[in-house]
Amino acid sequence: MIRSILVLLALALPASASDLFLSQLQLDQLGTVAAFDQGRVKSLDSLAASVMKRITGARKPTGTTNLTEMLDLALRPEAWAGRPTIYVKNKLVRAELAAAMAKAGGSQKDQYNLAETGLVARRHLETPEATATLDRLSRDLMRTARPVEEIRGALSWARPKVLRSLFTVVAPPDGGFESRWFTLDDLTMGGMTAPIFSGIDSEVRRKSIGHWEALVTAWSAGDAGTVNGSAAALAALLPQVNPDPEIYPSSARLSWESWYFRNGNLTLFWLAYGFALAPLLMAVVFQWRGAMRIGLAMFFLAVLLHTFSVGLRWWVSGRWPNSNMFEAVTTAAWFGAFFALMFEMFLPRSPIRGIVALGGAGTGMVALMCAHFMPLSLDPTISNMMPVLHDVWLYIHTNVIIFSYALIFMASVTAGIYLLWRGALRLRGQSQGTILHAGGGGTSMMLAGRSRSLGEVMDGATMILVELSFILLWAGIVMGAIWADHSWGRPWGWDPKEVFALNTFLVFAILVHVRWQVRDKGLWTAFLAVVGCAVMLFNWVVINFTIAGLHSYA
C-alpha cells in the first residue's frame, strides 16, 4: 500500500532534468485559444484534457498540465520513449500485460508501475509478446476486447503526427460556419502563398507561422524561454485569424473554460458539502442550535459553489448540463441540494429542520466525490449532444428524472440515519415503543406540528422526500414516454433503463402500500427507501455501464 502511494507520488512529481524544462513552461495564455474538436469549438486546455484522458487516463505522468504533456508528446516524443504513458484501466488486461512484459524482459519496476498505476510505456506495448497478448485479449469480446481497443486507441492518439493533427486552432479564414478549421502545421505548410489562407491578414499569417516554427524548434531544444514567448505570441495572434463571434468564441468564455478544466471541473467542491455535513448531523442528532446555524450556513455556501460550477459549465458549453453521465450526476445533485436549500429557507420552522439539508449535503458530497475520483467513468469532457437529444423534452424529462433520483438518494440518507438510530436503540435495549405513527405520510407529519422523537422526524423526512420523488419519477417516466413516442416511434420499448426506472417506481409503490399493512411502519419505510435508492443506483450505474440500451448516454 505504502509503495503504491509512493509510486503515485513519484508520478505526480517532476523527476528528471527534462521535466525541469516542462516545469518552466508558461502555457496559460495558449491554453485559452480556441480549438476545433469534432463539431465543437473549445479552449485548447479543454481539448488537451480530453485528448490526454484518452492516453494517460486521469494520470499526469510529468505532473504538469494536460496541454504541456500533449505538446511534449507531440514535439518531443523521444522524451516519452521509456516513460509510462499509456493508461490501462482493466485490471485483467494489466495483469496479462505485466506477464507479457516479464516474458519480454521488462524490469520489475515497470511491471509494478503497470500493476499499481495502470501506466505503461509504449515500447512495452510494442514487443511481440505484448502484441500477441493484446491480439489474444482482443478476441474476448465480452471481457477484454474493449479495454484492448482503448489501449490501441491510446497508442494511436499518442503518435506525434496524430497529436499535431489535433491542434486545429486556426479558424476558417473565410468565416463560414461549416468551413474547416486548420492546424498550425496546415498553416505552415501552406506558407504565405496557399490561396486557402489568403483571407488571413498577411502579417498575422507570417507571424503565426514564424512563432509556431520557433515554438516547435525551441521545444525540441528544451528552450523554455523561447517557447513561452512564442506561445504567448500565438495566443494573441490566433484570435485575429477570424474574429467573427459566430466562429470564434469570446476570450472570456475560452478563459473560463480553460480555468474550469485546469481546476478539475470544480468537483473539489465536494469538500464544501463535506464541511456542512458534520455540523448538520450534530444539529439533527443532538438538536444543537449553534451547529444547525453553522451547518446551514456552510450548506448554503456549498450550494452556492455548486450552483456556480453548474452555471459555469452551462455557459461554457452553451447548453444546460444534463447530456452525459458527468453532467447528469453533478446536475442531479445540484437539483437535490438546491431543493434542500429552498426547503430550509422557506420552511424554517418545519419539524424536520436541517434534515433535508443534511440529505442534500450528503447527496451533493457523494455525487461530486464520484465525479472527482472517477473521472474515467464520469467523463467531464464537454462534447456535443447526440442529435436525438436536441429536443425540449431533454430539458423536461431528463431534469425531472434526475431531480427525482436526487430526492431518492436524499431519502436514503434520512432512511439510513433512521436505521442507524433504530440499531442504536436496539443495542441499548430500547427498541420498544418505536413503532411509530405513520398516518398519511410526510405531509401529515409536517401539518401535525407536535414535538417528536428523532425517529419520527427522520421517518417523516424520508416520507416527504419519497412522496415527492415518487410523483416526479412517475411524471418523468411519462414525459420520457412522450418524447420516445415522437423520437423513436414508440412510447415504451422495454429498454433496460426504462424498465428499471419503472422498477424504482414499483419499489416506492410497494413502500406506500407496505406502510398501510405493517405495524412497524418506520422500519419498513426506511428499509424500502434504501432498497429504492439501490435500484435507482443500479439503473444509473450497472445498466449504464454494463447492460447496453438506448439510454447509454445518460
Binding site: G39, E178, G489, W494, V499, H513, I547
Partner: protein
C-alpha cells in the same frame, strides 16, 4: 358463493397487491438485466441473460403470458380492492384516480402492444433507368453500380455509375443529386452528367484532350442511349423480430420473378439449434454444450403467388453467431491435394496455421514462399526438387545467400535482405522478388528486386514508390530465384504419400508427414500436417463463433438457418447451399443493393431444370402507399462534417408517398424527434448512408446520402395510455398533498367542535 366470496376477499387484499408488485418487479428485473452470476455486477459477464435462454426478446418477454397474467391479476386486484375497500369520497379521490389511471394505462397498453407493428424500410434516393437498342434496365443510383445491355444483334453497352454528388448546387442555387456515369456503348466511350429533376442539364462528354480527359459534346454522345433519374418507390417495410424465407423463380434468360415470402414461425432467435455437428466446421464454438437439436420448422406457402406451392421447405438448424467459411474437404472427383499445416515454435509458445493447395499457384505457398506444397507425379520429380538450383542476391556482381538478414555493402551503406517471394502469379505471369532494406547515412528505403530487373523499384518509408526510379542506380542489384530454399510439403506420387522436404545439405531431409506428428524443422521451429485431402473439393459450412468472441452489436447479421426441401421435384443435391445467411432486407439483387449490405441468395434446382433462389430475411409488410426519398439533408455542426457522427447536428429525410392515381404527395420532413404520419403509420429517421470510401481497386468512392432508413410503426392506444398516466399523476398529487390537508382541517374542525361542546 363461498368460493366467490373467498376470491373477492383474496382480490381485496393489499397483501396480494404487494405480492403481485414484488413479482412484477422480479419478472421485469430478470427479464431486462438478467440473473447475476458474479458478485461484481459491473463485469459484463456477470449477468446471465435469462430472457435469451427462453429465446425471447425484450418485446416478447414483456408480451409473454406470465407478464400478462401478472398485470391482469394486478388490475383485478386493484379494481376489486378499490371498489370494496376504498369508499369513493373526497378523501379518497386521489387513490381512486391513481388506481383508475393505472387500469386505464393497462388497458391502453394491451391495445397498444396487442396491435403493435414496428419495423423499418430502406429507401433509395434515386433510381437510374437506362434504355438502349430496345433493352432497358433500372438500378438504384449508387456509386459503382453497373448495367450491361445487349442488343438483339449482339452489340453491347456497359454503363457504370462513376460518381454521385448528393448535394450538387444548380445555377439557381437549388440542390439536387448529380450523377456521373461512364459508358462504353458499342465500342464508344462516353461520360454523362445528369441532375435529378433537371433533365435539360444533362451533359455528355467524350474522350478528349481536356485536362480531365473528357470533352463536352453538343447533344448526345451516343444515339439511342436514354438515361433517366427518377424516384425509387419502396412499397414494403420489414418487421422487427420476424423471420422469413423468400423464394423466387429464375427464368432461363436470367430474369427473376418477385420474392414471395414464407414466414418462419417460432424460430429460436438467441440460442443455437444444431441437429448434427458435422454440418458446421468443428472449430470455433461448435463444441458448445448449449447447442441442441430442434424440431424442423415447416415453411408453409402462405401466398397465392408462391412459385413452388408443392415443395415443402423446412428450417432444420439455426445459429445465432456463425460465419460461412469455404474449406476444402476430401471426396472430390479429381486429384487436388490440399493440406492445413501448423507451424509452431519448438516450445509451442506461438503457432500459426496455413492452408496450402498444391495445384493452385496462388494458394500453394505461404510465408513469402518459405513454405510450399507441391504435387509430384513420380519420384524423379522429388529428386529434381532436392537438387538445389543456385539462386541468389547479386550486388555489384557479388552473390550473397538468400537467408533473411543477409547483409551486403551497398555504396557507402548497407543492404539487408528482408524476404524473398518466389513464383508469385501476377496477371498470369510468374515472378519472383527479393525485398531488401537499404541504408545510407540517415536515409533508409526499401527496394523490391525482381527477377525481371525492369520491374525493380524503390519505395519510401510509407511504401510509396520513389519518384525518379532507383536511387543510387550505379550500384547494381539483381535477384535470381533459387529453389530448394523453402520447406516443401510433397504430395504424391502415391495416393497415400505425403512427405516433408526440409532444405539442407545433400538434397535436404525427407520425412513422412502423414502421421500428424510434429516434424522438427530446426532453428527452433516445428511443423505438422493437421488435415490433408488428396481429392479435395470446396465446401461451405458455417463456423460457429466462440461465445467470448460474439459481438452483440452485430445484431442478427451473423445468424444463419439451414433449410432443406423435400418432394420428388427436387434434385438429389437439393439446395446448392442449405445454410442461408441473414439479410436485413430482401433486395431484388445487385441492381438495388446498397453499399455495405449483403445479398447472397442460395440456389435451388428442380428435376425439371427450373431454378429458384432462396433468401433468409425478415417478414415484410406493405405500406399503405409506397414511399420515396425526395431529398436527404445532413446538418452539421460548426466546422462541417468531419467524418465523425459527433459532428452531425441532424439528419432529415424529405419523403413523398406515391398516390394511388399516380403522382406523389406533398413532401413530409422526417428528422430526429420529428416523425411523420401517413395513413396510420408513423415514419421516423433511423439510419443514414454515410460516406463510404472505396475498399477495392474496382470500387469507387461514395459521398453517401444515397438512401435513408426509416423506422415505421403504428401507435394505436397511445392516447389511452396517456390518459391513464395523467390521471395517475393527478391522483398522486392529490393523495400526497391535498388529502392530508383535508384530513387535517377535518381534524381541527372536529377538535374545535369538541372544544365548543366542552
Amino acid at each position: 358463493m363461498a368460493l366467490l366470496r373467498s376470491l373477492l376477499n383474496l382480490f381485496s387484499s393489499v397483501s396480494l397487491g404487494i405480492t403481485l408488485m414484488v413479482l412484477i418487479f422480479l419478472y421485469s428485473a430478470v427479464g431486462s438485466a438478467g440473473l447475476p452470476v458474479h458478485w461484481n455486477v459491473l463485469r459484463p459477464d456477470a449477468w446471465l441473460p435469462l430472457r435469451e435462454a427462453f429465446d425471447l426478446s425484450e418485446f416478447r418477454w414483456f408480451n409473454w403470458w406470465p407478464f400478462g397474467l401478472l398485470i391482469g391479476l394486478f388490475c383485478v386486484n386493484l379494481s376489486v380492492t378499490t371498489i370494496r375497500r376504498i369508499p369513493f369520497n373526497r378523501i379518497n379521490l386521489g387513490v381512486w384516480m391513481i388506481h383508475s389511471g393505472l387500469i386505464t394505462l393497462s388497458v391502453g397498453s394491451v391495445w397498444y402492444f396487442g396491435v403493435k407493428v414496428e419495423g423499418d424500410t430502406l429507401v433509395h434516393r434515386r433510381a437510374l433507368s437506362v434504355s438502349w437498342a430496345g433493352e432497358s434496365q433500372t438500378i438504384a443510383a449508387v456509386p459503382g453500380k453497373r448495367i450491361s445491355l445487349r442488343s438483339a444483334d449482339g452489340r453491347r453497352a456497359d454503363i457504370r455509375v462513376a460518381a454521385i454528388d448528393p448535394e450538387a448546387t444548380m445555377e439557381d442555387g437549388s440542390r439536387s443529386v448529380k450523377l456521373t456515369l461512364v459508358a462504353r456503348v458499342d465500342g464508344q466511350d462516353m461520360l454523362r452528367e445528369m441532375q435529378a429533376g433537371f433533365p435539360r442539364s444533362t451533359q455528355d462528354f467524350i474522350p478528349g484532350d481536356d485536362t480531365t480527359g473528357w470533352s463536352p459534346v453538343d447533344g448526345v454522345a451516343v444515339d439511342g442511349l436514354e438515361t433517366t433519374l427518377s424516384f425509387a418507390p419502396e412499397p414494403y417495410f420489414y418487421l422487427m423480430e420476424s423471420r422469413a424465407v423468400y423464394l423466387r423463380e429464375v427464368q432461363p434468360d436470367g430474369t427473376r420473378g418477385p420474392w414471395v415470402e414464407r414466414p418462419i414461425k417460432n424460430l429460436p432467435m438467441f440460442t443455437d439449434r444444431l441437429k448434427d455437428r458435422s454440418r458446421v466446421w468443428p472449430e470455433g464454438g461448435a463444441n458448445a454444450s448449449s447447442q441442441k437439436a430442434m424440431s424442423p420448422i415447416g415453411l408453409d406457402a402462405t401466398h397465392d403467388n408462391d412459385p413452388l406451392p408443392g415443395v415443402q421447405l423446412e428450417v432444420t438448424d439455426t445459429l445465432r453467431y456463425a460465419l460461412p467459411e469455404v474449406r476444402r474437404t476430401d471426396g472430390g472427383p479429381a486429384v487436388d491435394p490440399t493440406a492445413t499445416v501448423e507451424l509452431s515454435r519448438a516450445d509451442e509458445s506461438e503457432a500459426r496455421s496455413f492452408d496450402l493447395r498444391a495445384l493452385d499457384p496462388a494458394a500453394r505457398s505461404a510465408l513469402d514462399g518459405a513454405l510450399e506444397m507441391r504435387w509430384v507425379l513420380d519420384e524423379s520429380e522429388l529428386d529434381s526438387m532436392r537438387q538445389v538450383r543456385s539462386g541468389g542476391l547479386v550486388v555489384d556482381g557479388v552473390s550473397y545467400p538468400l537467408t533473411p538478414g543477409t547483409q551486403a555493402p551497398f555504396g557507402t551503406g548497407t543492404l539487408t535482405l528482408e524476404s524473398v517471394s518466389d513464383d508469385l502469379v501476377v496477371g498470369g505471369e510468374s515472378i519472383s522478388v527479393a525485398v531488401v532494406k537499404l541504408q545510407q547515412g540517415d536515409d533508409e528505403w526499401v527496394r523490391w528486386i525482381f527477377d525481371d530487373s525492369t520491374l525493380t523499384r524503390d519505395l519510401d518509408a510509407l511504401g510509396q514508390p520513389i519518384e525518379g526510379g532507383l536511387r543510387q542506380a550505379d550500384t547494381v542489384t539483381e535477384y535470381r530465384a533459387g529453389s530448394g530454399s523453402s520447406v516443401r510439403l510433397i504430395a504424391g506420387p502415391g495416393e497415400q504419400d505425403l512427405r516433408l522436404l526440409i532444405p539442407g545439405d545433400n538434397g535436404g531431409l525427407v520425412q513422412d508427414a502423414r502421421s500428424g506428428n510434429w516434424v522438427d524443422l530446426g532453428a527452433g521451429l516445428q511443423l505438422r500436417v493437421v488435415r490433408y485431402a488428396l481429392r479435395s473439393q470446396a465446401e461451405r459450412r458455417p463456423l460457429v463463433i466462440p461465445e467470448d468472441q460474439r459481438d452483440r452489436d452485430v445484431g442478427f447479421l451473423a445468424s444463419t438457418v439451414r433449410v432443406t426441401c423435400t418432394g420428388g421435384v427436387v434434385r438429389r443435391r437439393g439446395l446448392k447451399d442449405p445454410w442461408l445467411l441473414y439479410h436485413l432486407y430482401a433486395f431484388d439483387g445487385e441492381v438495388d443493393l446498397p453499399r455495405r449490405y449483403r445479398f447472397e441468395p442460395s440456389e435451388l434446382v428442380l428435376n425439371d431444370g427450373r431454378r429458384f433462389e432462396l433468401l433468409y430475411s425478415r417478414r415484410r409488410m406493405e405500406m399503405p402507399a409506397p414511399v420515396v426519398l425526395d431529398d436527404f439533408v445532413v446538418r452539421s455542426r460548426i466546422g462541417g462534417f468531419t467524418g465523425e457522427t459527433s459532428s452531425i447536428r441532424d439528419w432529415t429525410s424529405q419523403l413523398r408517398f406515391v398516390k394511388a392515381g399516380g403522382g406523389v404527395s406533398d413532401p413530409y420532413r422526417v428528422h430526429m424527434n420529428n416523425p411523420a404520419e401517413h395513413q396510420g403509420l408513423w415514419y421516423f429517421q433511423s439510419q443514414w448512408d454515410p460516406p463510404d470510401p472505396a475498399r477495392r481497386e474496382d470500387e469507387v468512392d461514395s459521398l453517401g446520402l444515397n438512401h435513408t432508413v426509416l423506422g415505421v410503426a403504428n401507435r394505436k392506444g397511445v392516447y389511452v395510455q396517456l390518459l391513464g398516466t395523467i390521471l395517475t399523476v393527478i391522483g398522486l398529487v392529490y393523495a400526497f398533498y391535498v388529502k392530508p390537508v383535508i384530513k387535517r382541517r377535518r381534524l381541527e374542525a372536529a377538535k374545535a367542535a369538541a372544544g365548543g361542546q366542552a
